[in-house]
Symmetry: C2
Subunit: 371 residues, 2 copies
Amino acid sequence: MAISFTLTARDERTAARAGTVTTEHGSFPTPAFLPVGTAATVKGVWPDQLREMGYGCLLSNTYHLYLRPGHERVRRLGGLHRFMGWDRSILTDSGGYQVFSLSSLRKVTDEAVTFRSHIDGSLRVLSPELAVSIQEALGADIRMALDECVEYPAQRRDVEEAVRRTTDWARRSLAASRREEGGLFGIVQGGMFPDLRKRSVEGVCALEFPGYAIGGVSVGEGTELQRETVALTAPLLPGDKPRYLMGVGTPADILYAVSCGIDLFDCVLPTRNARNGMMFTSDGPVVIKKAQYADDPLPPDERCPCPTCRTFSRGYLRHLYLQKEILSSMLLTVHNLYYYVRWMARIREAILVGYFDRFMKESLVLKDEKL
Amino acid sequence: MAISFTLTARDERTAARAGTVTTEHGSFPTPAFLPVGTAATVKGVWPDQLREMGYGCLLSNTYHLYLRPGHERVRRLGGLHRFMGWDRSILTDSGGYQVFSLSSLRKVTDEAVTFRSHIDGSLRVLSPELAVSIQEALGADIRMALDECVEYPAQRRDVEEAVRRTTDWARRSLAASRREEGGLFGIVQGGMFPDLRKRSVEGVCALEFPGYAIGGVSVGEGTELQRETVALTAPLLPGDKPRYLMGVGTPADILYAVSCGIDLFDCVLPTRNARNGMMFTSDGPVVIKKAQYADDPLPPDERCPCPTCRTFSRGYLRHLYLQKEILSSMLLTVHNLYYYVRWMARIREAILVGYFDRFMKESLVLKDEKL
């Protein structure tokens, strides 16, 4: 079954919109944040907990699953949903970002990218066709065409080359895709060059994908350049298809991107920061190891209804973190994922009820100070 | 409130018995297994999950909490129950076993034991009075008198000295205890010397404790000697008080000790083994990293109703373990703690219905082969 996207509401003063994505594994409302489950697990949480929080879609990493345990093994074990015990939607990335950020000795040709596994140093080749094949073996609901992700800063000619290749690979990905599965998204590149972003949109969006992603951001360019790039690129993407901003971001980054018309987000921030002892709260970040929390009987966020805040004190969470207890990562991850899911719910509510513009202005002023 | 113990049933052919322990934080049926929550957390599980499994009492370690985060800090944060989000009963050990197994440079006198913290090397002194004071600050429902735990093998004269000192310390612990709190248990030592066990029982049980523990086992003496010691010591303890075998053990060890009249157990096996990738199952141990499980779609234990077995395959659990994912420890710990709580329920059922003798014989034959 192909995925479908319906728009429910558009904000009058910004490009923000609210909608619903439907896949074979159910519907979820947008704007949506997708927790990252790199190796077929969102680190530190049970799938049941993600369901209870209200998440409708996860992201898992093609690159990692390709290397370990291998996509054919996942297929033999019933596909990624069965494998990781998650019956709602799954999006897999293309592997492009990881090949370019994690692996060594990579060599890109028009044909494919050759690289050494960051795990065992084995030589691997990832082509657009293989990336599609891996993701179809995994059974992901939303799959991404292989792209060439360029670091920042980059030479214009390198970005130009990546734009050309990404369009070519998008075409090959679509051709390699088994039609009846649907759900393959195209990715737009172009670095921080406005004309190359435009060129990439024209190339990729000329191909018939059910959704489009902005890739090549969150690669070290900083908030301002990222926002400029998103503001420029998002409105160029087809308005009737879901728009996905890959690897973004902070609550403030997400809010800003929603105002540009982005519908889908993923980011390691809530989960990775949790493992590093940082909690998102309505009063700004809490770094739990700080001595000031040693005797603090208050919950991390007094306005948060999550199971961590309902039960535990900052003093206890600091103790767990300093002791390197597994439960520290578990409790902080649940809290941060609650924070993100509630943040997305507030954004949607603001769009649906019609005060998104005001909500954004007030929040961004606050968030810029705090996050 | 003092703790109370009521006997519900006695087996006719063995010394096994079923009963109920009641503390200020509720009642739980015996024979009971207490999961170990060393640093105020049972590693890898939420307190809610322990409640759902049916555990009524946890153990936490006085030695560890004394060093980090400090008992006065736990008291300031509302006591151990509030601190760790556990509203059922808590038993704290005396600290004796850890001082003798974890710390260095220890020096025992009749007055107290002086040792270096295994965490920061700081010099510390633990006296019977301080051990009581720490445990009362923590607010544990069941607290243990400081004992001198002797390693195995040991010289007779060292064990004799430890028996004398343990009795003296038991007397001092009782004197230091604030009466209205109740719940202080005495510990019997005596190594593997039958006459010294008897002497220790006579000394400690002459003092009025609401429960008695057998300490100084599970220190490297092996199954046979442990069983002999338990078989010899348990019947010497008062029949109307709960009997607690400290640090034991495998499902088979527990079953045997129940037949000798033991009511309470604690052990790191289910939780520690889980983190090391070993699962207890009705078909014997499963070491999940084995290559044979790589493509195995079956649950770890087909007869187990735990959330891990209901949802995940051996293939997935092996993948998580090899990837060192946090979720590996979480899923295996929940499974093993389910295994133990169900094992205790089966033992109780056998006593209550009257087939414990047969159940034990059949199980021990099986378990000896498997565990």
